[in-house]
Amino acid sequence: MSAHEESGPRDRMIHPDVAKAGDESERGQDGRRLDHAEATTRPIGAEPKAKAVREAQPRGAKIRGNRPIDQAEAAERFLAAPLHQKAHDERLWDLRKKRDTAAFGIPEWEELRDLASQIKAHTLSNLDRYLEEFEANAKANGVHVHWAADGAEHNRIVHGILKDHGAKSLIKSKSMLTEECGFRHYMAGTGIEVIETDLGERIQQLDNEEPSHVVVPAVHKTRFDVAAVFAKTMGTDPENDDAHYLAESQRMHTRPLILEADAGMTGCNFAIAETGTVVTCTNEGNADLSGNVPKLQIHSIGIEKLIPRIEHLGVFLRLLARSALGSPITQYTSHFRAPREGSEMHYVLVDNGRSERLGMEEFWTSLKCIRCGACMNTCPVYRRSGGLSYGATYSGPIGLIIDPTFNKRKYSTLPFSSTMNGSCTNVCPVKINIHEQIFAWRKVLAEEHQIPLLKQGMMKAAGQVLSRPATYRAAIGAADSALRALPRFAVYNPLNTWGKGREMPDSPRQSFHSWYKQNRMDKKPETDA
C-alpha cells in the first residue's frame, strides 16, 4: 500500500498490521465469513474494472429553488447507470435479508415493535413533560442545554459555542439532524472547519454531496467513485480502488484532524428523560472519538428523540441494529450523561418543525422514526432510484412522509414516488403506517392543488367518464379496441409512457361486458341490469 510508504508525521499513525484483504475483518476467529455492521453477506459490488467500462456516478435530483423535485427524472438517470443501480439494489436488498434473519431470530419481534411504537406514542403525547425532565436532569449533570426553534437557530447556537471557545475545527459523527439544519453549509462561511468522521459521511462531504441513505450515506457510490473522490481530495492513488486501501487512507487522513480538533459533535439516537443521557449507536466509534477527544462536546438532539427511561433502551436497542443492519447491536452503543473532568458538554434541542408536525392528525406518528433505514432498504423504488433522486434530506419511504412537512411545494411530488406496496410499514420497528401516510399525503396535496394541473385534470376527466356508464362504454368504443379501451389516465399522455418501457397489452376480440351481454343477457334478459 502506498500509504505505508509515505513518510512524515502521519507515519506513526499507521499501524504495521494495517488491514489487508483476507485479514481479520473478513473472517472471524472461527474462520467463518463475517457480515456484521453494514457488511454484505456475500461480495456485492461493481464489476472489477477489467471487466467493466468505468461508469460515471449518476448525480441526484436537480434542485431549482422551491420548484417541485423531479424524482422520476433523477431516478431515470440512476437507472441509466446499470453498474451503480445493480450494486445499489443488491446491497440494500442484502441488508433487508439480513434484517429478516435477525428479526426472525427473536420470537417476540412483533411484540417489541408494538412496545416501541407505544412507548414513542406515549412520549410524543407527553413530550413537553419529558423534555422538561430531560433538561432538568441534564443541567443537574452539568450539561449546558440550548433550545433551537429551527435549523438556523441550531446553527447559530453551535457557531456561538464554538466561537466562545475559540474553536477552529470541529469533528463530528453522523447526524441526520445536522443535515436537516444545513449545518455544514452554514459553517462553510464561518472559518471553522467541520470534519465528518463517519467514513460514508466523510466520502459525501469530500464529494460535496448529501448523504443518500440515513445509515449508509455513500451506498449509491461504487468503490471506483470513492477512489476518484479520495484521489482528488486526499491525494490517494486514483488507480487503487481497494476498499481496504481507501478506508485506511481515510483513517490516516482523518486521525490527525481528530487529534487536533477543538470540539466534537454528535447526533443523538435516544435521549433519556430520567437520566438526561444522550445515546448514540455507531459502528466506527467516531461518536466516541468526537465526544471523548476534544475538550468541548456538543450533542444535537431532535426533540422527538426522547424516551422516558433507561429501561426502554432494552426495547429500542434490540430493534434498531437488527432493523438497520441485521446485527444484534451496533459495534458501539454510547451513553453520554455528564462532561468529563475539565471538559464542557452542550446539548442543543432542536424543534425545526417537529412540534408543528405533532399537531398533524394523520402524520404525527412519523415522529416515532428512529432512523434505522429499514424502510429504505426494503423499498423497491428507493433501491432503483438512489437516495439522492429525492432531492431532500430524508429519502425513501420515511422521506416521502416527512419531507413535505418541511416544504409542501418543493416536496409535493415525493409522495407519488411510491407504489404504496406497504413493505415499508411492515419493516418499520416503531410501526409507522408509512404507506398509509403516503396515501394520505397525496390527498392533502391534491386538495391543496400541489399536484400538477395536468394530473389533476386527467383525474377529473377520468372521474367524469367512470361515473357515467354510457359515456364510459362509448369512450372505450363499440369495437372494443384495446388501445381505446385503455383507461384514460394510461393513454391520455402525449409521451405514451406505458409503451416506452413495456409492450402494449394484447387486444381481445371482445370485452367481458359484451361477452356477458351476448352470452348471458340475451339468453336471460331478466338478469339484473
Binding site: 437507472l79 439494489d89 428479526a103 396515501f439 372521474g463 413495456r502 367481458f512
Partner: protein, 247 residues
C-alpha cells in the same frame, strides 16, 4: 346467496376470459351470480392519485350497482382493497359501509367464505410462480408478508395446492412489488418498468413457466415488461386455473 360480480376495468377490456372464469367458477358452487351491467370502476385511479373528490361520483355509482347483493366478488385484490379501505369520498351511510364490508376478492371469498376444499375439475401440470399483488398481500391479507415474524399462511397457495399437477416455484424476492402501482406505472415509467423487468427475471430464474396472480393489472404490466426484454414467461389469472382451464 346473491353474488354481484365486479369485473374491474382492466379485466373487462384486456382479459375478459378472467371475468368469464370468475363467473363460471362461482356458478360451479351453485351460487346465483349477476353482473350489474352499469358498472365501471372502483375509483382507484383517482383515489390513488390523491384526487378523492374526483372519485366521488364513481364511488357512488359502485355503491348503487352493488348494494342489492349479499356479497360482491371481484377477481382483483387491488380493487377490493380500494373498496374496503379507501371508498371514502362519499358520505359513509349504512348502505356504503355495508357495500364496503361485503366486497370480497375472489381468493378470499373461496377460501374464507365458501371454504372450498377441492377443485376436482382443475388440473394445471406446470411450474408456476405466484405473484402477490401488494394490496392483496398487505392490504387484505392474502398471505403472511415476508417482513413479518408471524406464522406463515397463504390463501392463494392453499387454493392452488388443490389443483392437480401444479408445481409452485418461489422467486428469490417472493413478495417484492412488480412496479405496476396503478398510476405510478404511468407517472414514474422508468422505475416502474425496471421493477417489472426484475420481477419477471426473478420468476424466470426460479424456473417458472407461468406467473399466476389474483390481479390482472400487475400481470398486464409484467407481461409487457417480459415481452420487452424477451423473458419467455406466460401469465395467467388464478381464476382461470381454479376454473379448470387447460393449458
Amino acid at each position: 346467496m346473491r353474488i354481484g360480480l365486479f369485473v374491474p376495468c382492466y379485466v373487462d377490456a384486456f382479459e375478459p376470459e378472467v371475468g368469464i372464469a370468475t363467473l363460471e367458477l362461482l356458478e360451479r358452487f351453485g351460487l346465483d351470480v349477476a353482473y350489474p351491467f352499469d358498472q365501471t370502476c372502483c375509483g382507484q385511479p383517482m383515489t390513488n392519485t390523491g384526487c378523492h373528490a374526483e372519485a366521488a361520483a364513481t364511488e357512488a355509482l359502485f355503491v348503487r350497482n352493488f348494494a342489492p347483493f349479499d356479497y360482491i366478488v371481484a377477481p382483483s385484490g387491488s380493487c377490493v382493497h380500494q373498496v374496503r379501505e379507501h371508498l371514502t369520498a362519499i358520505p359513509q351511510t349504512d348502505e356504503v359501509k355495508d357495500v364496503r364490508a361485503k366486497t370480497f376478492e375472489l381468493v378470499e371469498f373461496l377460501h374464507d367464505v365458501l371454504k372450498v376444499d377441492a377443485f376436482p375439475w382443475a388440473e394445471f401440470p406446470h411450474k408456476v410462480g405466484y405473484h402477490s399483488n401488494c394490496n392483496a398481500l398487505r392490504g387484505i391479507h392474502h398471505a403472511r408478508p415476508s417482513e413479518l415474524n408471524k406464522p406463515a399462511y397463504s390463501k392463494p397457495l392453499d387454493l392452488l395446492s388443490k389443483v392437480k399437477g401444479i408445481e409452485i416455484v418461489t422467486p428469490a424476492r417472493p413478495d417484492e412489488c412488480c412496479g405496476f402501482g396503478g398510476t405510478f406505472s404511468v407517472f414514474e415509467p422508468a422505475v416502474s418498468a425496471k421493477m417489472g423487468y426484475d420481477k419477471v427475471s426473478d420468476h424466470s430464474r426460479a424456473g417458472a413457466e407461468y406467473v399466476v396472480s389474483s390481479d390482472s393489472s400487475c400481470m398486464m404490466h409484467q407481461k409487457g415488461c417480459a415481452a420487452r426484454i424477451g423473458v419467455p414467461l406466460k401469465f395467467i389469472h388464478i381464476a382461470r386455473i381454479l376454473n379448470g382451464v387447460s393449458a
